[in-house]
Amino acid sequence: MDKVLSARVGKPNSQSIDTYLADGGYASVNKVLAGAMTPEQVLEEVKKANVRGRGGAGFSAGVKWGFLPKDTKGKPVYLLCNADESEPGTFKDRLLMENDPHQLLEGMILASYAIRCRNAYIYIRGEFYDGARILNRAVEEAYAKGYLGEKILGTEFSLDITVHRGAGAYICGEETGLIESLEGKRGQPRIKPPFPAVSGVFAAPTIVNNVETLCCVKHVVDRGADWFLKIGRNEKNTGPKLYCVSGHVNRPGVYEAAMGLDFEEILYGQNYAQGIRGGKKLKAVIPGGASAAILKADEIKGVPLDFDGVAAKGSMLGSAAIIVMDEDTCIVSAVMNILKFFSHESCGQCTPCREGTTWLYKVLTRIENGQGRPEDIDLLSRVGGQMANGMTICVLADGAAAPLLSGVAKFRDEFVQHVEQKGCPFAVRVLTPA
């Protein structure tokens, strides 16, 4: 497959509107606003293409848009671009924003046209200083060329886009946490329903879409739903996809391929990560960011990297952050690291999450440090089991429980070994950058 989303990455001045226009950019905005497609037709095209949410949930963007009320009772509709990319192991949206900001803006303009949005925001995580600078410059350029602002290209369609920086909180990537944060509050997720499409930011109908999802929208309008549907494994897993590979591989990075790429191909293929570093053996992989269940080396054979393919193995594609662990990796310490993350990032509203993540981290720390008790291993599973599946307002707790429960179930021997030997049997990791 030829690159689509990352086609312009690395080209000289790929951020500027001039090179974007020279590469055929904003052609779809020109075409659509000239009357080639009504908002309903754009929505139907995106729905037909089955663009599933690239932020992690894999929910169809077109279906989500369809949840907006037909009559908004005078309230405006908001589009929020989720650029909070903070799932550990994920770095694809950073690449898209830093290299090709106009692709995202074009996707947002088309999405806004489809859902009749007048005001859109890009909620970008605070740490992406460069991303925010590049996006702000791109927004200014788009205003100057008439692609944003009042009466775009002389039509009745107007749109403002504002880049809004977060300030260091993972939970603001959860769509209602993001909405709360945009309203100037602590980013604590809301109870649903009502879903954002009915009542979101400023109590108005709101659509939240990930950066990569909105970039896909641009290409669906460019080339049509049928083209998008042909890319990918089947009609439920469609389009181009960015995969983030990190950890113990020879060539970590972002790789674009058709949805459903073979798992072993991305780990070992010449065009991809080129195998495990130092000729080591693979021990485990987290396929979809830190909140996905761990897969053992023998579980990835023949698995297509798409939403349904990875789900069939009891994990999830999530944000397609593939974290690779070699045979020298201590699973206890890896899971401990992940629980440290979640205990820090729990917003604190729900007891199972706030207390569960904290206690799991404490118990894991004592096992890793050689003070674990034999009963601690079942304690981990019991506490983890009480956090997931609807016990909390959002799925952060589920995300914390998944690597823990799968880690304990699949690598129980390692946990037992830590307890029996009263310490970690693995050597401390030294600094080994790629």
Binding site: S86, T90, F202, V245, L431
Partner: protein
């Protein structure tokens, strides 16, 4: 939620935004339907103006945005990028999340502590360096990744770190 971030230090002097910062704030307010929604952007202006956000800055932001001071404090303590006390000229932010952890982030933090003679969340006596751990900064393919202020330095190792510290004014 960081459980230790609840104390906002006082600067001991009133905080008034300089005119250019006020002009920025006026521009920001135009982009949102409520004043409250401008809170995070205005707090960023405050941090860029004074380097950190004091109790007095927080109260001034509350006044400008017509918000209860307690609300602003609540927001400030929730988001880890807002500094509630002064930080060093160079804020060293070492990522220790999973991908960096797998490639030796722990050893990198240790190395920083030793070289700077400070613990996490501390600042060197000369005010040049503050050391903190951060959560995944999306530099996983160039792990271990770190940031100094707003710039990425990756992939990082002990030798590169020593060279960087030297460049920033710290002898080996």
């Amino acid at each position: 939620m960081s459980h230790t971030r609840y104390r906002i230090e006082a600067a001991g002097e009133p905080r008034k935004f300089p005119p250019e910062a006020m002009a920025r704030i006026e521009k920001i307010l135009k982009r949102y339907p409520t004043k409250q929604a401008a809170l995070l952007p205005v707090l960023w202006v405050a941090q860029e103006t004074w380097g950190w956000i004091s109790k007095e800055s927080s109260e001034e932001v509350a006044r400008i945005l017509e918000l209860p001071p307690s609300h602003v404090d609540g927001v400030l303590t929730f988001y880890t990028m807002f500094h509630l006390r002064p930080v060093g000229k160079n804020l060293l932010q070492v990522c220790t999340s999973i991908s960096c952890h797998l490639l030796g982030a722990g050893a990198l933090v240790e190395h920083c502590r030793k070289r700077l003679g400070i613990d996490l969340e501390e600042t060197t006596k000369d005010g040049k360096f503050t050391l903190v751990e951060v959560e995944c900064i999306a530099g996983c393919d160039r792990a271990p990744s770190m940031m100094v202020n707003d710039k990425y330095y990756e992939p990082m190792d002990a030798g590169k770190l020593d060279a960087l510290l030297k460049r920033l004014g710290r002898g080996a």
